[in-house]
């Protein structure tokens, strides 16, 4: 079919494997096929176009949407029902609670005239979500042909390898098919395939070549690359539109677009600036450096005591409790770091991550680092609670009133240093790691 080759590029071998697996319409196919590969390696697209162009009866379900068993099964059944009785329009909705019901209902639905004597395909996209559902679901789908005694094939699409799916109780092994990543040549071919109608294919291909030169090292996601290609194309065309350069003047065009693409890599690609803002910048010919990205707004304004609570929490999280005496007692005597170093403490606490600490330790440190007297008022406690809701602290374990609650400080060193600077507190002096 020449039609199909036009639609599906660079996936010839996979398409032919699938086609031979499917066989004739009335042939029994493999009970289950497992297709895996990275994001944007064409799994969904190839399966969908193949089933559509061959006009095979199929149901396409995305497992992200169906977060319960019931939703998943009912969606499959209802779509099948739709297929079999497309003439009469929508018939009654089938309700289905368990896999057992599903098998029974499935048998009923597939007796319809239009589905008889041909393979029915059920495609489960994002199949990794099946692992979090009921344990019988995955083995059940793998054996669906056997259980229902119908001509049915289940196709799983996933980004994860089959070995991570296999249940411990054993199951029928599916036919595993791998979709490898597109090579740079493939990407070039696919991207230049859909060129804008106003420009020639060669012109667009040259643009794609430059684009891939910049982005290929960081991003091989076809969807993302297509998006970026469309976003930046008007800028590439600019000299041509203005008449400053011809369509063949590749070198000039390259010099125009390359710095622009590099900026895009730092901003739009990371979603620091939204695509619509980027387009607007292009239109106005403004400098992208003027618009600050999301990360530029890292500053958080906190009430005075909240800052100190956060600092105290940070100290409690990253200092061993034994060293509190050294940092917060006035006449601690001279204790050298080497004297109280235990063996496992030689590694930096910052590499190990924050450790949990009880509320009382937090308060004790707080009282000693704040210059003025702090009364333990209800406001202080509610501030701790609100820092937890802001995700700057996390509550460790269950929040039991009996045991003192334990917290962890989740902010980074840079963040806490910025906070400490606003209250003139030299936090480095109090950190055990920097002693």
């Amino acid at each position: 079919m020449p039609h199909l080759e036009n639609l599906v590029l660079c996936r010839e071998s996979q398409v032919s494997t699938l086609k031979s697996l499917f066989g004739e319409r009335h042939h029994f196919s493999f009970p289950s096929i497992f297709i895996y590969g990275h994001t944007a390696s064409g799994k969904t697209y190839v399966t969908q176009t193949l089933l559509k162009t061959l006009e095979l009866p199929h149901v396409f379900v995305n497992c992200v949407e169906c977060f319960t068993l019931r939703l998943l099964l009912e969606q499959i059944l209802n779509k099948l029902n739709h297929l079999s009785s497309s003439e009469e329009g929508c018939s009654t909705e089938i309700t289905c609670e368990t896999f057992n019901d599903f098998v029974r209902a499935f048998k009923q639905v597939t007796t319809a005239e239009s589905l008889k004597d041909q393979t029915v395909y059920i495609v489960l996209d994002k199949a990794e979500y099946l692992r979090d559902m009921e344990a019988n679901l995955l083995p059940g789908f793998l054996r669906l042909q056997e259980l229902t005694d119908r001509n049915v094939t289940v196709i799983f699409l996933s980004e994860i390898i089959w070995e991570k799916f296999r249940p411990n109780t054993g199951c029928l092994e599916p036919f595993v098919l791998y979709f490898p990543d597109y090579s740079i040549g493939n990407l070039q071919k696919i991207l230049s395939h859909d060129h804008p109608p106003e420009y020639s294919a060669d012109f667009y291909a040259a643009y794609i070549n430059i684009l891939l030169g910049v982005f290929y090292t960081v991003c091989r996601d076809l969807k993302e690359l297509r998006h970026l290609a469309v976003l930046n194309f008007p800028k590439y065309c600019e000299p041509v539109v203005k008449g400053e350069a011809g369509e063949r003047d590749t070198r000039k065009l390259w010099r125009n677009i390359e710095p622009h693409l590099k900026k895009a890599m730092q901003t739009v690609y990371l979603r620091e600036i939204s695509s619509s803002q980027w387009e607007k910048l292009q239109k106005d010919d403004a400098d992208p450096a003027q618009v600050k990205g999301l990360s530029a707004y890292s500053h958080v304004e906190l009430p005075y005591y909240s800052k100190f609570i956060l600092i105290a929490a940070y100290l409690a999280s990253y200092n061993p409790a034994r060293t509190d005496r050294r940092f917060f007692l006035k006449h601690h005597g001279k204790i050298k770091k080497t004297n109280f170093l235990k063996k496992h403490e030689k590694t930096s606490n910052h590499l190990l991550g924050p450790k949990p600490f009880p509320l009382d330790r937090l308060l004790a440190i707080l009282y000693s680092i704040v210059d003025s007297r702090v009364a333990p008022t209800a406001n202080i406690f509610s501030q701790i609670a609100s820092l937890v809701t802001l995700q700057l602290l996390t509550l460790v374990g269950h929040d039991d009133q009996l045991d003192a609650p334990k917290y962890k400080c989740t902010v980074s060193l840079d963040f806490i240093r910025a906070i400490a600077r606003t209250v003139n507190f030299d936090i480095i002096k109090y950190l055990y790691d920097f002693l």
Binding site: T39, N62, V64, E65, C66, F67, T68, R70, L71, Q75, T95, D194, P196, P197, K223, E224, R226, H227, A229, V230, L231, F233, L270, R271, S274, S275, S276, Q277, L294, S295, Y297, S298, H299, V300, E301, P303, Y304, S306, P358, L359, D360, A364, A375, P376, T377, A378, N379, I380, S382, Q383, S386, T389, L390, Q391, L392, Q401, L402, D403, A404, P405
Partner: protein, 760 residues
């Protein structure tokens, strides 16, 4: 007794109607129970009126403050939605990723204020963009199912609100179990198809008709479960063609949280634009400016109260709502506690009220410390007249109130001027914000402070253009006030400005003159150079001040005079008690409660709360009449870090039984012995009194902990239990504990009925 019958029988009592009406009108709470209630109703009304005025004023300017933000947000929503519909034919648009338009709304950490903003935002969106607005809170959406359930139910109620009679059928057809994004989008299709053809005739928009977008507000982005968010975004982005969704993330900390919550695969589905709300500190400044630094509302607060309110705001919560609540509380308390607060209203009204004052109210005026001080300064015959003649007193009070009003008008003008002068000085000796300056001026004579002296010092070094901008600002301040007060000062400032301008012209000429003189420095050796430098230095010191310097000195003197004349602290004004609220302590107790201290006070000194004379013991000893818990607590305070439970319980038993020994009626102790005997027979192991006491204690301690009182006490309160020697550990710990719980409860009631009585 209502019946005097001796015989047994049933008696029917009809409810008397008087008894039923127990509910007290709000204004009656203003009666302090004593005779001073004559004006209470009037005071309450005055309070109510003033609070309403203040509230509407706050709401008005809060709306103004939010207007900018809302406008840009609504513009974004409209634009992104229409773009969505218009460009669908475009080449690029078909290839580009379909991104969900997302507004990241950074609101600051004062989470309590967010509700108000979101409420008005929802209203604004419903009026301008789309009727379909859904707002979600993280705590309602622990998983996908609840998330969608909330979205769907809110959407349906939205659409029922707009068209009440037509949507019934849709509501019914929607089955309860079908909560999925798929069903959501199909529901949306049916709704828009139904309403679609009808709308354009009403709205008359050019071009095709767009179905309204659905705006989903996530109020607290930080607390949302990442998995729920990710799943929802990925699945709804697949339905974006049929279901035009726009997200608004309410962010309290910083927008980086989006990257922390969502992986690149998900955040690449969003088209995020950032919106930032006004900083809450600026918000506070406006509130103070509009409510307190104005003569519009006669009510004022003293320095201490202002300090308490701003400290709670700046140190603790950043919450405007709480600040306003604190202000309301102080207003209420002022009208409640100060009998003369009747006069805290507009000037003509206050004058009218004075003229019909009763004798006791006049006496109240005479008792005011500020009025007494005022009287003492008067001539002796006038003193007598003021203290005896009611009519004269009323007249005098009226004139004093008027002068108080004038004082306030001048005060705020002078304050603003001074603020303009000092706000831009290096290191801000008098504070950067006007509230700091206000606090200082309220506290004492500001010109006596060191900071003021240093500020003046710095002012004397200002450059001309700086001075001129400041003067211009000041003249604006004077012009904006409608009154003719301080007219002379305003004119003086104008004069200064004119002089500075003329100085400009003069300076040019002068420069020309000095420029003509050739200043040739001959080549000299080091000695001569030093000498000439010394000479120039000498010259500079003795040099006559330039005209600019003279003028600058005059300006500084002028502002100094202004401050000394008008920024007197309010305590110097007679009758200031009428408008100034100064119950800082009460406010602190109410707004910044200290649970640990309260607990400690209650446990350490039960008399403080229970008000029972029997509990009042002398310092250092433990009264046996105190509740058990207090005894246990006090005993435990006597120990160090660890308490031996045996010692503790023995001590407890000693304190308790010591009292009973002295009791004439020893029935209770007998009963206790009985119980102990019972226990001994029932429990085969050796048990002594101590064990019971110990059990009671440990259970009491447990109780304390479960009620949350002990988790919040300091760490050394935690008791390490040591097993009592001689008592073997029981295998089933759980059941015995339960047994002993019920047992000790009984034991308790029999043993010490007195301990319960003071609580009631």
């Amino acid at each position: 007794m209502a019946t005097s019958s001796v015989s047994k029988g049933c008696f029917v009592f009809k409810p008397s109607f008087k008894k039923r009406k127990i509910s007290v009108a709000i204004e009656d709470y203003f009666n302090n129970g004593k005779n001073e209630s004559e004006d209470s109703k009037l005071r309450f009304e005055t309070y109510h009126l003033m609070w309403q005025q203040m509230k509407s004023e706050t709401e008005r300017f809060q709306e103004e403050l939010n207007k900018n933000l809302f406008d840009s947000l609504i513009e974004f929503l409209q634009k992104s939605h229409s773009e969505f519909q218009n460009n669908s034919r475009n080449w690029g648009f078909q290839i580009k990723l379909r991104e969900i338009p997302t507004a990241a709304l950074v609101l600051g950490v004062n989470v309590t204020d967010h509700d108000l903003i979101f409420r008005s935002l929802t209203e604004a969106i419903q009026n301008n963009v789309t009727p379909y607005v859904v707002s979600l809170q993280a705590k309602d959406c622990p998983d996908m199912k609840h998330f969608l359930q909330k979205v769907i139910s809110q959407l349906m109620s939205c659409c029922v609100n707009t068209k009440p009679q037509k949507e019934e059928s849709v509501n019914v057809t929607q089955k309860k179990t079908h909560y999925s994004v798929d069903s959501l989008s199909s529901w949306y299709m049916t709704i828009t198809q139904k309403t679609g053809p009808r709308m354009p005739s009403k709205k008359r928009t050019p071009g095709r008709w767009h179905p309204p977008a659905v705006v989903l507000i996530l109020k607290d982005m930080e607390s949302f479960n990442t998995k729920v968010l990710q799943d929802f975004i990925t699945s709804s982005s697949q339905h974006l063609h049929e279901f035009p969704l726009i997200l608004i993330f309410g962010i309290a900390t910083s927008p980086i949280i989006i990257h922390r919550l969502l992986p690149h695969a998900v955040s690449s589905l969003l088209c995020i634009e950032l919106f930032q709300s006004l900083s809450c500190k600026n918000h506070l400044t406006t509130i103070l400016d509009k409510l307190l630094l104005t003569t519009q509302f006669p009510f004022k607060i003293s320095e201490k109260v202002l300090q308490v309110l701003t400290n709670i705001f700046l140190y603790h919560d950043f919450s405007i709502q709480n600040f306003i609540k604190g202000l309301k509380l102080s207003l209420l308390e002022h009208f409640h506690s100060q009998p003369l607060s009747v006069l805290c209203c507009s000037l003509p009204e206050a004058k009218r009220r004075i003229s019909c004052f009763s004798a006791s109210q006049c006496e109240n005026i005479r008792r005011l410390p500020s009025f007494r001080r005022y009287v003492e300064k008067q001539a002796s015959e006038k003193q007598v007249a003021l203290l005896t003649c009611e009519k004269l007193l009323k007249e005098e009070a009226q004139s004093l109130l008027e002068s108080l009003h004038v004082y306030h008008v001048n005060y705020f003008l002078a304050l603003r001027c001074l603020h303009h002068f000092t706000a831009s000085l290096p290191k801000y000796p008098l504070g950067r914000q006007i509230r700091e300056l206000y606090c200082m001026c309220l506290e004492k004579n500001v010109w006596d402070s060191e900071e003021y002296a240093s500020a003046l010092q710095l002012l004397r070094m200002l450059a001309k253009d700086e001075l001129m901008t400041i003067l211009q600002k000041c003249s604006e301040v004077f012009n904006s006030s409608s009154g003719k007060q301080l007219g002379s000062s305003a004119k003086k400032i104008e004069d200064f400005l004119a002089q500075f301008q003329s100085l400009d012209a003069d300076a040019k000429e002068e420069e020309d003159a000095s420029g003509s003189q050739p200043r040739v420095l001959p080549r000299t050796d080091l000695y001569h150079l030093q000498k000439s430098l010394m000479e120039t230095k000498e010259l500079r010191r003795t040099k006559k001040q330039s005209r600019f310097e003279v003028l600058r000195e005059a300006v500084v003197n002028f502002i100094d005079c202004l401050v000394r004349d008008h920024l007197l602290p309010p305590e110097t004004q007679p009758l200031h008690e009428v408008v100034y609220f100064c119950g800082a302590r009460m406010l602190r107790e109410h707004l910044n409660a200290a649970p640990r201290m309260a607990l400690h006070a209650a446990l350490h000194n039960p008399h403080y709360y229970l008000k029972n004379e029997a509990l009042e013991g002398e310092e250092g000893c433990i009264p046996h009449t105190a509740p058990d818990i207090c005894i246990a607590y006090k005993l435990h305070l006597e120990c160090g870090r660890l308490i031996n439970l045996v010692d503790w319980s023995e001590a407890f038993a000693t304190v308790v039984t010591a009292a009973e020994k002295t009791d004439v009626n020893s029935a209770t102790s007998e009963e206790m012995n009985e119980i102990i005997q019972d226990a001994k027979t029932s429990d085969s192991t050796e048990v002594n009194t101590c064990t019971y006491a110990h059990r009671t204690l440990s259970l009491k301690a447990k109780e304390l902990m479960t009620t949350g009182s002990w988790t919040s006490t300091s760490s050394d309160l935690f008791v390490k239990a040591q097993p009592i020697p001689g008592i073997p550990e029981r295998p089933s710990g759980k059941t015995t504990q339960c047994d002993s719980l019920s047992f000790t409860a009984d034991y308790h009631h029999i043993l010490r009925p007195s301990s319960c009585s003071p609580v009631e």
